[in-house]
Amino acid sequence: MNIMAAHSAAPQTPLSVTPVIPAGRMAGAGLRAQLLWLARVRVLWLLVGFALIALIALLRIASLGLVGQAPERTSLEDALLPPRGEITDRNGAPLARAFPAYALWFDPAAMGDSGSPLVRSPQEVAQALKAIFPDIDVARMARRLASGKSGYLRRRILPEEANRVFSLGEIALEIPRETDRYYPQGTLAAHVLGYVVEDKGGQLGMEQVLQDRLSHPDQRVDPVALSIDVRVQGALEDELRRGMLATNAIGAAGIVLDVDTGEVMAMASLPEFDPNTAGAAGAVNVFNRATNGVYELGSTFKPLTVAAAIDAGVVRDLARQWNAAPVPVGSRSIKDSHSMGPSLNVPQALVHSSNTVTARVADELGPERLRRAMIDLGMDRRPFIELPAKGRPIWPQGAWSRVTNMTVGFGHGLAVTPLHLASAYAAMVNGGIWRPTTLMKVDPTNVPQGRRVFKESTSSKMRQMLRMISLYGTGRSADAPGYRVGGKTGSAEKAGVGGYNKTALVSSFAAAFPMDAPRYVVVVVVDEPKGTIASSFQRTAAFTSAPIVGKLVPRIGPMLGVQPDDSRDVDISDLRYLVDKGK
């Protein structure tokens, strides 16, 4: 304002003295002053204009510098938050994770004009794509490109392939980055994990069970740890597969269970499927033999019957001789597979797997008490596990007759899943506490209390007898040196239409190790093994499922913290003479 005033005041002075009649020099001076004033005003306006522009520019810069939004701020957490949570094993090895993948998408509108969507002819582009993806059909691809409809050309392509497609220079061939559910271990633990179908969520396994947790915005940051140990799972599947192929079986199932916490360390069902390729079309082999298949598991039930009898006080003296002659029941009779002498004691009956003695023990125990023990072991309901695929046991309804009681005693007339058996064996060897099985990692300080099914003393007796079966009896091929394995074989004919199928067998082996302080139960079930060279042309459990356990235990023992030791074993000195008479 001061400057303005000064400028405007200066030209005012000459104007005020301009005479009314212009004369000579004075007129020239007046004109000159006027022109000068005009020039000054113009310069002033110019300056004001410049100043304004500079001010605006400065203001703009200041506003940008002070409050201007930097190119959209993304927080680290948001950017790294997976669209679906990760599933890991108990040690943190990833089993399922969100994985960035590339797709090949055809977008005819990408060129942005009304001309052809492709630079070259569809035929040429199809040929070029054929060079990258050898399995495509050139004619069909050319038709697809010529049709001008947008859509996926290929759902998943590798980064190298994406680069080669990019170098074709066709703008209409887009390579969008998509997040995919990926299972790095491939088919491993497929039945435990399940798979994910886009827009439908998790299917089948823990993907379905944990659907809410895995897709929850707040919870999906942290990976979910399962109880599975990926190394144990790998060893179990490897040995199961080998055993299944060696005996030409149609399927196999295996479970490794922690006896003290109920955690499933490994669970496998063969044949398996690949969750990476399973999608909306579903998958083959989704049937989970470990938790969904119900089988009459045969002789593996005999130790449970004996444990119930010892617990109830029916078997007090293990040296007592029981009649081993065939048991007449109505018009039929229960026989042994081969005669083992006129009488046997209970340890001998288990070691030689005698049907007759077990039936007599069950008979003496009575249907109500055996039924009670089986209910306590959870045999009358679906297995306790998170998986949605849980088989309902075939449970004899109503009050049990004498025949039912005796047949259940040696594992017939009652069909349960292998998981039921593993859970029951865990209760039998861990001191008598039944605990629900789980696939979630259990905090060691917060183990479920469980319920007592057997007495501590019963469990201790059973540990001795199970160890004797694998030392002297049918389980010898499972006796891995140094691991103190104890277990029972079971071979049962599959029930078919109109009675038992003589040619189809289910062979099982239920074991625990180390028997002096049991830590893990291993159950292996082989579905319909055939007699092959590998199994010495035998189909029974001693030649089909027990060797699988014998090879598996040394592989998983050190991983699970069980050290082989030749100088340690469960003390069987008080029972040894009952079985090992001549030796």
Binding site: A62, G65, L66, G68, A70, P71, R73, T74, S75, L76, A79, L80, A93, P94, R97, F99, P100, Y182, P184, Q185, G186, T187, L188, V230, R231, Q233, G234, A235, E237, D238, P481, G482, P554, R555, G557, P558, Q563, P564, D565, D566
Partner: protein
């Protein structure tokens, strides 16, 4: 001429102008740092994603099934036996027991000097693949110069730095004591 109050107000105006200029400069600086942080964050995200990608690739290539197959075909490792484990410190210590007085001397194996070194023997028979039986050229063999020397040259200093066992401390007290005891005995 300006009086003192005019000079004071001019001074205040100058101070105000300087402060304003400083604030502007500072806020520009803050914003620049913020942009750098943002850039670093983006780099972090990109690296995290790359790490995830590489880790997943590693997990896939080293999946349990693949490892089992490699073991069947190439390595043939088997599960450890009971004799391969030590029961505790006591058993470990027993391995370093000093020979008692009157104990039989340990068996020593003789070795004939044939004049050829281990490297010569190895170079006579090239390594063969256990699968195809074809000769395998090791990467170290095709490299120029001795592989060990190349490795030492490349990583020797680093490994010495990284190793928890320094050459000076490589001998444990126990071993020194045993050596001293044997020196006295002989």
């Amino acid at each position: 001429m300006m009086n003192s109050s005019q000079a004071r107000s001019l001074g205040w105006a100058a101070v105000l102008a300087i402060c304003f200029a400083l604030v502007v400069v500072l806020s520009f600086k803050v914003h620049a740092v913020r942009s750098e942080v943002l850039l670093a964050e983006r780099q972090l995200i990109a690296l995290q994603r790359e790490a995830l990608l590489l880790e997943t690739e590693f997990q896939t290539r080293a999946s349990q099934r693949q490892l089992a197959e490699w073991n069947t075909v190439e390595f043939g490792y088997s599960a450890p036996r009971a004799g391969q484990f030590l029961d505790g410190e006591r058993q470990l210590a027993s391995l370093g027991e000093v020979r008692g007085p009157g104990a039989p001397s340990p068996i020593r194996l003789a070795r004939a000097e044939t004049g050829e070194t281990a490297a010569d023997v190895a170079s006579d028979e090239p390594m063969r693949s256990p699968v195809s039986g074809a000769k395998v050229a090791l990467a170290s063999a095709s490299a120029e110069g001795d592989a060990g020397a190349v490795f030492t040259q490349a990583f020797g200093d680093f490994l010495i730095e990284a190793s928890p066992i320094r050459p000076a401390r490589a001998e444990t007290r126990r071993a020194a004591k045993v050596a001293a005891a044997q020196g006295i005995a002989e």
